[in-house]
Symmetry: C2
Subunit: 384 residues, 2 copies
């Protein structure tokens, strides 16, 4: 069992109507607010107006139009707004892209150089503006962790940034806010949750406790994602998915385990950086191919355990169980209605070499089953 340091101090307010606590929570930090949001869905579903009504005593500035795969350009815009107006608190209202962007804004205010340098070199700041999040999509878990992923379209890079100071102070998780999420995004978000769990499950040295909890969380996604896709206002499904998303990525389920490289995320970040694909869709395409690629004598036992504990497969030997489990995982993703090949996204092999070169920036050589450049290329070819 590995040593670890763990701290996740976010105050989580979960349930219908928790937004009522927003004025009190924001008020702890000040009254000048930078409201960050995406393409405007919060205007259509009423959350935007609700927030203005609740924060009527605050001075609100806006960083709007934050894109899925949030751009460093948005980050720069946000930092400038904070500095110009002396912002006290950053309020992110949206999914993981909005919260990720808001995190890097919150830290970037305290970094004097180029924000892209801060991201790409993972530079830690002395301070960060307090961040409050209101979640509208169950997917990345950004509402309960200290990580962010930012894209630079100029350099075709999509990179992670981690800074404990950017952990949200408060996150409001109201599952009813996700009732209006379209089926496609519900599917992609659920696949992202599941991928976070799979990346931890397929690790080089897991604890028994972690395996059990991760398997349970994966089963929760498998059970409730199809329900949420079909019945967008199913309270149980939306609630289970939202809380699972928050626990899936903040490390609580896998403390004590050795780090496994998060291979699918590393490869998917290359796809998104070059083609701006939906993160969850990229993961759905990559994951089963990655699984087949790394299935070998050493890993077959773990895949068989996955097949038995998660997929409920019985009566087969390890190899058969492993293969069936991978097939079932692929079928599950497909059943949610997402594209399952790169060709469907109009992506060819033009950039595979470059993507394979960059993927994971070397860390995949130490993954659960190590991946070299040729492995990543082979996986990408299988995705065509």
């Amino acid at each position: 069992m590995e040593s670890f340091e763990y701290q996740a101090g976010t105050k989580v307010l979960f349930g219908k109507g928790q937004i009522e606590h927003l004025p009190e929570e924001i008020g702890k930090f000040g009254r000048k607010v930078l409201l960050c949001y995406g393409g405007g869905s919060i205007k259509r579903n009423g959350i935007y107006q609700q927030i203005y009504d609740l924060l009527k005593d605050c001075e609100i500035y806006e960083l709007a139009g934050i894109a899925p795969n949030p751009r460093i350009t948005s980050v720069k815009e946000g930092i400038a707004l904070c500095k110009e107006h002396g912002i006290d608190v950053v309020l992110a209202v949206g999914g993981g892209s909005v919260i990720d962007c808001a995190k890097v804004v919150a830290a970037g205010v305290y970094y004097d150089g180029d924000p892209w340098k801060m991201v790409s070199e993972n530079i830690q700041t002395e301070n960060a503006l307090p961040l409050v999040s209101v979640l509208t999509l169950a997917a990345t878990g950004s509402e309960y962790d200290d990580g962010a992923v930012i894209t630079n379209l100029d350099t075709n890079e999509k990179l992670g940034y981690g800074n404990p100071l950017t952990m949200p102070k408060v996150s409001i998780l109201d599952p009813t806010y996700t009732y209006t999420v379209p089926a496609k995004q519900t599917a992609a978000g659920s696949i992202d949750i599941m991928s976070h769990l799979l990346e931890q499950y397929f690790g080089p040295d897991n604890t028994y406790l972690a395996d059990q909890m991760l398997a349970g969380a994966i089963k929760t996604v498998i059970r409730y994602a199809p329900v949420a896709v079909k019945e967008p206002d199913n309270a149980q499904a939306r609630g289970e998915l939202m809380w699972t998303s928050s626990l899936a990525c903040n490390g609580i389920l896998s403390q004590g385990c050795a780090y496994g490289g998060w291979c699918c995320h590393a490869i998917e970040h290359e796809l998104s950086a070059f083609y701006d694909v939906t993160h969850g869709v990229g993961l759905a395409i990559i994951t089963p191919r990655w699984m087949r690629h790394i299935l070998n004598e050493k890993s077959v036992g773990r895949f068989a355990q996955y097949g038995r504990d998660v997929c409920g497969i019985t009566g087969l030997d390890d190899q058969e169980t492993a293969e069936k489990a991978i097939d079932e995982t692929e079928k599950f993703f497909a059943s949610l209605g997402v594209p399952m090949t790169l060709r469907e996204l109009g992506i060819g092999e033009e950039h595979f070499d470059e993507m394979a070169e960059h993927a994971g920036r070397g860390r995949l050589a130490n993954a659960y089953v190590p991946l070299l450049k040729e492995d990543v290329k082979a996986i990408l070819h299988d995705c065509l």
Copy 2:
């Protein structure tokens, strides 16, 4: 799914040698330290000296001799020491009893009245001294929650106290510190962990995610408690049990579930208040009898789920699965070598009436399967 507010900001430092960070962590709060510990095992196993060596720049005062089922008299003594010496930070080194006592000391410094009144009426304070814990026994989870249980031998009361300000700022979890815990205490501690999980598992309205994670954590105890009892220096077993203990009681595994009354704890607290029995031993005796008492048409499905998901029972109908699962739970506790009847502890039925009257102080009427006074008496009789 229930609404909830959740926050657990403790910094957990887990693993061998994490004690090295103690001076740095203590130093954040000051240099006047109240060192709280129990019967002296930390002197025998060297932790006491290690702490004095590490904190050589601190001024250390001692609250020693904190008993299992910690007494309000110790709390009062600790508060007096803090006030007399202007203590900056409370350092609890021990198991749950020591940490519980330290929590109530930390809050009690900011309460002007009788500390027993603060406990019995669960009075919230404006402030509390910062608390750092060094865990030496995997059991109560006090190192990662904001609750404490204090005993008043004058009034035969053992009561819970909860105050978010008493959540440890830092908890050092070094599994090697539990290598010297005797088999009996390892067994009792493991049963306490398992009971915390069972109290949550048998709830009136659980989420699927919670059921899965709780089942996984229960299986972890069933797998590793016997190993730790037999091989006290088994690193994997001690590590898994320690981290499971921390997660078992801080709510992370059952957020979104309705509260089920924690019946076995309520009844056991009466036993401990009257007879000062080891908490885990009392729970081992009570739990199977409570399970049999509440097994009925309404609860049989949940017991059957427990039998299948946790005990791995197959091929039987619900009623048979439920009964077998309860038998196996009882056998598991017995296999750890703890007494399984009250008679073995020299306890008769003299105080059953009074104990049943007090147990849970009314909350058991709203438990998963509601318990009235006569139910509690019947369960206690079955324990003889």
